[in-house]
Symmetry: C2
Subunit: 527 residues, 2 copies
Amino acid sequence: MINGEMFIGGRAVKGSVGEVRGVDPATGETLEPAYAGATREQLDEACRLAWEAFDSYRAVEPELRAKFLDTIADNIVGLGEELVARTIAESGLPRPRVEGERGRTAGQLRLFAQVVREGRYVEARIDPAQPERKPLPRPDVRSRKIPLGPVAVFGASNFPLAFSVAGGDTASALAAGCPVVAKAHPAHPGTSELVGRAIRDAVEACGLPEGVFSLVFDSGYEIGQALIADPRIKAVGFTGSRRGGLALMKIAQARPEPIPVYAEMSSINPVLLFRGALEERGPQIAQAFVNSLMMGAGQFCTSPGLLLAIEGEGLDRFTAAAATALRETAPGTMLTPGIHQAYCAGVEALARHPKVDTVARGKAGHNYQGQAGLFSTGADAFLADAQLKEEVFGSSSLVVRCPDDAALAEVVESLEGQLTASLHIAEADHDDARRLLPVLERKVGRILVNGFGTGVEVTHAMVHGGPFPSTSDGRSTSVGSMAIDRFLRPVAYQDLPDDLLPPELRDSNPRRIDRLVDGKAMVVEAG
Amino acid sequence: MINGEMFIGGRAVKGSVGEVRGVDPATGETLEPAYAGATREQLDEACRLAWEAFDSYRAVEPELRAKFLDTIADNIVGLGEELVARTIAESGLPRPRVEGERGRTAGQLRLFAQVVREGRYVEARIDPAQPERKPLPRPDVRSRKIPLGPVAVFGASNFPLAFSVAGGDTASALAAGCPVVAKAHPAHPGTSELVGRAIRDAVEACGLPEGVFSLVFDSGYEIGQALIADPRIKAVGFTGSRRGGLALMKIAQARPEPIPVYAEMSSINPVLLFRGALEERGPQIAQAFVNSLMMGAGQFCTSPGLLLAIEGEGLDRFTAAAATALRETAPGTMLTPGIHQAYCAGVEALARHPKVDTVARGKAGHNYQGQAGLFSTGADAFLADAQLKEEVFGSSSLVVRCPDDAALAEVVESLEGQLTASLHIAEADHDDARRLLPVLERKVGRILVNGFGTGVEVTHAMVHGGPFPSTSDGRSTSVGSMAIDRFLRPVAYQDLPDDLLPPELRDSNPRRIDRLVDGKAMVVEAG
């Protein structure tokens, strides 16, 4: 079922512009078949179909929309070994990781199916009329959230399933009622085709309008740029580099009608090691740190790229233990030759930096394997050099030795927006941690204690986001059920007769959803 | 207490750049005293104080923050006749309108105090740990929303109280926990000073850090632009012209750290007149329409600037009745000479347009009074000319005669984003209305039946917003309790010990707020 095809609505078609080709980064081998980028006409057709599908798709019963999401999950799992093998071949990721990611991808589709069934996400509000109010009667005002319109989703390279064609952005947009036009990441075209077909088949099986989903390839940047500029597209989801995200934001803002861009871009995810914790269990933290750093060859958005601590014996012991563990690490195959090259350049720049010491390197590899690196510098050097605050995408991390609490606080205050910050603390460190929490809250989307950011739970409270430049829009998350909010906006209905109201707002509450009535939560009992 | 002063934190100071001067539009008389624009140093000081106040202000107990909002409301009402008289003098608005607007301003501050007390706005979510989960234990993840940071608020000319220094943007930002730096609208400096002092006094009375509020004047555009560009400002609230809003958006997007701009810009608020309603009560609707059009001399964001209907006797009778009513209308004094001039130019362009008929004009006035105007054109002309879709700010409205349902649908589909749409229907029109509702939902923030958009209730379900270009960000509202969402972002806390968690997320729920636990609403009973 890997035919070199993309999907313009229900039709499987081939592009004809340039070439998009998977490469097995474990071997350097070019993979069959060749894919070609979409033409402008094919893209136009995808956007037209998405626009035409919008009003009918957003009007379908919640149960059908939920079934659609569940069917996508079933279809992806049903692809079995063909999908797993192709994803491994195109990404170099190890089998357990790919299988786990497939489970997560299906799991988040099913979570959003549940969110759609429960209906709380429409945030139904009812303020009943007060005909007796003086000096003027109060009208009846109700509101719910409706979907924004067709959404452009850009697949990410580092999670070829969970942040790609049927990843979190697609799942949350479809759940919200938005058709999706996905732009495949060029590093995994075969994976994209398989997953794209799984969605297309679910659209058909559920009897939905074909424009609910399209998948296009792009041999360069033209199709992706034209997709964002298309007036029928009303929002964008993206996970990738800061440069890429900023470019998309610019196009979206320059449109006659600007649209929101949810770009997850870059993060170095500071890890704060407090005195008590280092004293109590420094070597264990060091081992856990190295494990986190090596996950997916360090190609996680939440990889621990920065360690902050006060100088002293505790930090020295930690660093020594981390160095010992790191030297034993086997290099991981990186996602693409380009990412490997950028990683090598980033590590080399650190190694050559006059104010940076190389603490340890992992085992050397071959081909596109990334050799882990642990580096160290002082707070002054870190504060003085913006380059040291940049993400090196891969298994590289920098220890910043701070002379005292004031320097540590200054370093934390100097950080850009981040996805996560981790605090390693013992009982004795609580007061020190409490002092830094307000600063960290301003800087990050998620604060962890005695853990690492790698591994993002898909739950209701999860926030995988953070202030700029970790994302383009810190008011949102791309993981967890809150992600659906990104693709919704509120509409109020004043004095509508009951039969013209949307079902969520009718007096009889036919969808049995939780609502806010006169500012009070009215919760529907289960059963 | 009108001294020509602004407030940099607690200090009342005078600016020294250029001149800002109120003009009584009823007489053309220049008002005393003269105000001067802030210096860049004064602005810098206001932003510095706001930034320094942020962490402590957002950490205060909800009850204190609520009391602060209530105190502002009390202080504004306590200004009594001095405020009312000055607002009338600076705006030309009639006394009942100014007194009503003062009540609304106090009312929305008190509504937000209640929102803060109830605490639901932080959207507390708790996903408890699952230590037994396979293959990996699930961590404890909790989230709440925190404020974005200091907010720049630009006062609007058309609601010198309710959308100005202590208006909805200020109330919602302060409620969210954001310090505010307000830029006074140059048309009502005395009103701004009085209200600014009321807020400053409330800051002092509540023992809050002085940087929680500052008020600056600007004799041109430099201070406003520098305010948005200041790195310590994290969001912008604005109500005004499309040109002004677009300019602010551009500055905000060009910052090294882009920030959200909530600009409410322009809207012509289509009114759809259905056949049955016209037949049943056309003349009554015409009278209600003229009443709505004349409110505040048509200077409402929600003024009915466009009437859409199918040609026929019903529409003819409506138009004739509206013309009769309109000819009797007394002209209202407009807010500023500039607004009056722009209104005259807009009306003149309509009157001279080769495809537009002048149906009726109101009574002529003197000085800066706006003579109402009702115009008429065909669907073809309206579809062909973007100029006819532009807002004429004031008591001017355009009837678009549609030959049939298809033309009406095409006209509705051609509209830009709007704040409101009104449908006038009888029982027999429900099916026709139902067909257009999905299109209207895509175009507007609020849909009304058998009413007009003027008069925006401040409630929980209200949406005063809409797709671009009615606002810069259709995902939000500037009126009603949902407005607080604009200044918040979510933060997740993973595996934090209870004593390090924010109170809203502790197991014991010390703030007694509604929370979402494992995706289920847990509502706290009153009492």
